[in-house]
Point group: C2
Chain length 540, copies 2
């Protein structure tokens, strides 16, 4: 596979020229019905409305050339087929395949990567068996009662995605089942989660690929202590999701252990067992398969090379236009759906951990901007919060709106002539238009400069299937951008330094507790900070 630096692509030069006078959305007639129709793409149950981006056909052609030159779709296809794309040339790196798409490539006889899909099926079958045993009363608590609650203990990729999807799909929860999540090493997290649980009817699902994540092990220990303290047998209340052969892959300690594989990074693992166990427990096995189905459909649609026919690719390239050519440091993801309240937090991880990089695939410092800061909260709430800055701040923030024509519950009322769902969606459209067009006003404080780019992703209704599609859409968008920037979107070396330093500080605290001498490499500034916290006494 040929990797080329972003700065060396011919399309970049041309796009730089075009960016000197980007499409002006504020001109009279610039944004008309024709443009809305032309700049609209439908795929996998979603419409992507992008007339309110600062692009014209020349820019879209340039972005197409950029995608082609960088070979982003080819690389995505190669990854699907098992190429080792988690890699940096010439230096020590993870050297792994990237096969999260394989766990949902289970609906045909000829998956892209047969072996990984077969393994995924195997785990799914095991999960189905376990869920059946719960339904049939073969797995029950000490008193023979059914389990009602599952607490997922995990952090980062083992938490954010499953949590976001659970909240998004809670409407479809099975009667008498629910989930909680425990992530933070903050002891108050465990205390608050455990405070109002019926431990006797709770299963704990401990998720860690390595089986050594500090936060997760600590919380598992707190939970085991709490179970034992309540006279319950921890072995009857815990399951694990972990790598085969990890310390957590141990039938003596868990009711069941499901496996995750090293070719699926945490932030891309929602559709693996990392999300499957808790989502399957709460929503049912079939609903989880619906998620996989929606994701798989989007994975197939993402193979299309034409950016005007491929939503993830289009959004990737529009994002690069805003980031590298219009100079925007952040992107806001604003779902007009309370169910998607935590989806931006999942994307924050998936995007920023993937593309917050400054070294190219050949190990050179990059000279172009890579991943932006991703943030967001649901609308209409945000309209009454931070939208002031979106409309009139000195920093331009591109916006991705997500909405649905129908609500989940279907419980609505007409107030002042329209339903709440109509109000919700009308507000979303009004925002994207207002940001784009702005408005001249004689009062400078009521003037809106406009030309703030936005787009709308519109689906029919948020269901397991559309949720799967939306998840896969963003995963592929992020991966396409990483290929275009010629960075490795699949490692996370940037988290190591802080982790190692925390261990040093904890060793220093522990050494003082045991009255052992501090390590010889103790650092005065570290010591002074620990003193400020009262964790170390003043050096005497």
């Amino acid at each position: 596979m040929e990797y080329r630096d972003f700065s060396e692509l011919a399309a970049v030069t041309r796009l730089r020229q075009l960016a000197r006078a980007p499409f002006d959305l504020t001109l009279p007639g610039a944004l008309d019905a024709r443009r809305v129709e032309d700049y609209r793409l439908s795929s996998c149950g979603f419409d992507c409305l992008y007339a309110t981006q600062r692009v014209d056909d020349a820019v879209l052609d340039g972005l197409q050339d950029l995608a082609d030159e960088a070979g982003v779709v080819d690389k995505f296809l190669a990854a699907k087929e098992g190429a080792v794309v988690n890699r940096i040339e010439g230096v020590e790196s993870e050297n792994r395949q990237v096969l999260h798409t394989a766990v949902r490539d289970i609906f045909t006889d000829s998956p892209c990567h047969g072996e990984a899909s077969a393994r995924a099926r195997q785990q799914l079958d095991r999960l189905r068996g376990f869920l059946d045993d719960l339904d049939r009363g073969l797995v029950v608590n000490e008193k023979g009662e059914a389990f009602t609650t599952m607490v997922q203990i995990g952090i980062g990729g083992s938490d954010l995605g499953p949590r976001a999807l659970y909240l998004a799909l809670k409407k479809y929860e099975r009667q008498g089942r629910s989930a909680r999540f425990l992530a933070n090493v903050d002891p108050d997290d465990a205390a608050a989660v455990l405070a109002d649980l019926d431990l006797s009817r709770t299963l704990f699902n401990v998720v860690s690929k390595s089986g050594t994540t500090l936060e997760t092990l600590t919380n598992e220990q707190l939970v085991r202590d709490a179970l034992a303290g309540a006279g319950l047998d921890p072995g009857r209340h815990l399951v694990s999701v972990t790598g085969a052969g990890s310390p957590m892959d141990n039938p003596d300690n868990y009711l069941a252990s499901f496996h995750m594989f090293d070719y699926i990074g945490g932030r891309y693992s929602v559709t693996s067992m990392v999300g499957a166990v808790t989502l399957g427990f709460t929503l049912g096995y079939d609903a989880f398969v619906d998620i996989l189905n929606g994701a798989h459909e989007m994975d197939r649609a993402a193979e299309q090379r034409n950016i005007r026919r491929n939503i993830p690719l289009l959004m990737a390239m529009l994002g690069i236009w805003n980031r590298n050519f219009l100079g925007c440091d952040t992107v806001a993801v604003l779902p007009y759906s309370r169910a998607l309240a935590r989806f931006p937090a999942h994307l924050q991880q998936c995007d920023m951990e993937s593309n917050g990089k400054s070294v190219s695939r050949s190990g050179q410092p990059v000279t172009w901007a890579t991943g932006p800061v991703v943030w967001g909260e649901p609308g209409t709430n945000g309209q009454h919060a931070f939208y002031q800055l979106l409309h009139q701040g000195t920093t331009v923030v591109p916006v991705e709106f997500i909405g649905f024509r129908q609500s989940q519950f279907g419980r609505d009322a007409v107030v002042q002539g329209t339903t709440s769902q109509e109000k919700l969606v009308a507000n979303m459209l009004a925002q994207v238009l207002a940001l784009a067009r702005g408005r001249r006003d004689g009062n400078p404080n009521r003037n809106f400069a406009g030309n703030r780019p936005g787009l709308v992703l519109l689906g029919e209704r948020l269901t397991p299937r559309t949720m799967g599609a939306l998840l896969a859409l963003y995963e592929s968008k992020i991966i396409f951008q990483g290929f275009c920037w010629n960075i490795n979107s699949f490692d996370q070396e940037g988290v190591q330094l802080g982790k190692n330093l925390a261990i040093r500080l904890l060793n220093a605290i522990e050494a003082q507790g045991s009255r052992a001498p501090a390590g010889q490499d103790s650092d005065p500034a570290e010591h002074a900070l620990l003193e400020a916290c009262g964790f170390l006494k003043k050096a005497g």
Copy 2:
């Protein structure tokens, strides 16, 4: 009061020169124990540790001069005493006082603004009476039972702050009392909140200054319908917080109405009745007064002119250094406390709605950067999510860490030699150090450039009182920055355009429903977008 443009201040020129070679935190010995001690400030129960900012004494002196030249503390004092600082010269503007500090200036005989503080006391006394009536069984439901749940219905400033504080202080909740929040016009928000409530024992607290907020009225109507549908009397289940004389200030429709005043903007209203009713119901009246006490103490400390002795002023000026001189577009607020999970969302509103402005106090377009994008999630969770970009991304993000020496619950366990609370705080310190110092590595992918500025706010324990102090700290920080940038931090004209446009779109939907002709000012692009949503039929 003399207002001067940021660009005209002499200190700005000097700071620009200093910013050409900002303090290099990565040099050996640059960050030593002495620096940690020198760049540490203790006030109102918090330590601010800022050795890991890219400043030296010359920069701090420059920032002091900048604060002095802009007269930010004088203007803050003038506001406290009732000056009309919500104003833009020469054009129509709100022309109001800014007196959120008065509602907590109730602990001395000589408050800064006697009249506003007297009114605040009056409302507090009414609230105490109402809460006493609940305790004594004088206000009960149809069956004579006590109310157990309060649902606050409000959006923006009537939601985010009270919600953040409720979550932060839930540990201190009274037995048998709890709260929920309903904000979004999304009908699924109401459906989900109502789904698992015992309506008969629930009070709804409807909060809107104008009494006309669309989302809030819509949700109130859904709630009234649900109560009536359950055979309950809505008049016995609703209270309101609103401006005197608003449509919601009506004893026929509410059990009680508490008043808010036009000199307190929504985003600064947490310590007014906007937060008082729900926080008082759940935590008790005395705990709410503790919040006021902590806030008042910080308000007093914020009067200090020396930036090295005034935490909000110091943080304001360090923020300006990072924003205007080092060129950072965003700031991350990362609490190492699960209880503060929603505090960044509150700050996002308070900061971005206040300072996301591009017109000066004299009505001229600003030529300098104003408010940054504020975002954040709790640590250690974020370490496993977006910290990759903080450490190795191409965009530098200044970070404000918030932590506490002790947990709230005090339920902890020693795992691998240290407690969870020690792990939590050690991780926070490790992060701020790692971001600042970086680390050279032969593997370019494991190299950390460092010089990423951070600071730590460290308190003893998160209690009502320290929560009040923390809230007031950030309110004043934001206001100081606004004065320095010479913008009006107290209006929000930027939210009007989208709001008006939404009304237009809803009118178009309503007109079609009634088969009346569409308004003559109907716009083709608006129409096309509504068609895409299926809300309007194709024209023609």
